[in-house]
Symmetry: C2
Subunit: 112 residues, 2 copies
């Protein structure tokens, strides 16, 4: 019988105490907000409803006690949304950790 290829996989998230705060979905959403400067465009790209995306952001901000996005109201396009310094910090940490962990998995797999 051919040996079946067993690969490692993982899920990464941030928590405060035991509370889940920020995971893959939030990472993708925030990365899209950073690029598109719009929550509705970011939600669409992340295949979330606007309502869900907004509620998810508010939930994260409640846990953190800080804002991760800031919206400037007005203008023809209905305002512009940018991620805050704290939002960018979370985004960067998540991305870096995910890359390091992916590398650990790939190195381990290549030794098999």
């Amino acid at each position: 019988m051919t040996k079946r290829k067993i690969s490692p996989a993982f899920k990464l998230w941030f928590q405060i105490g035991e509370d889940y705060v920020f995971g893959e979905g939030a990472y993708e959403l925030l990365e899209q907000i950073r690029k598109k400067k719009s929550i509705s465009a970011a939600a669409k790209a992340s295949r979330m409803s606007y309502r869900y995306a907004w509620a998810h952001i508010k939930e994260i901000e409640k846990h953190l006690g800080e804002s991760i996005v800031k919206t400037q109201k007005g203008g023809k396009q209905g305002g512009k949304t940018e991620i805050t310094k704290e939002g960018l910090s979370l985004l960067t940490r998540y991305k870096r950790l995910k890359e390091l962990m992916t590398k650990v998995c790939e190195e381990e797999t290549s030794q098999k």
Copy 2:
């Protein structure tokens, strides 16, 4: 406001293709079988029912196409269960990867 401490956390598992095969629960169970040489004692230590533990092992073996435990029947104690070479290989891989990932998280956190 005091800055809340944000810590990374992760879940690790093995998969074949897209199929989940072996995760934290299986790791704990197999580690206990290795130590106690008994599925019922291992299930108890892992806070699983014997029935659940046994079904979990069979499910993993079905995915792998190999046995991860072997049971010798008979004797006053109702036989002895040991993990196979393949079971030990999975156990060792999981443990090593988990340690490496934990280290990545700890190093990242200590820089904050």
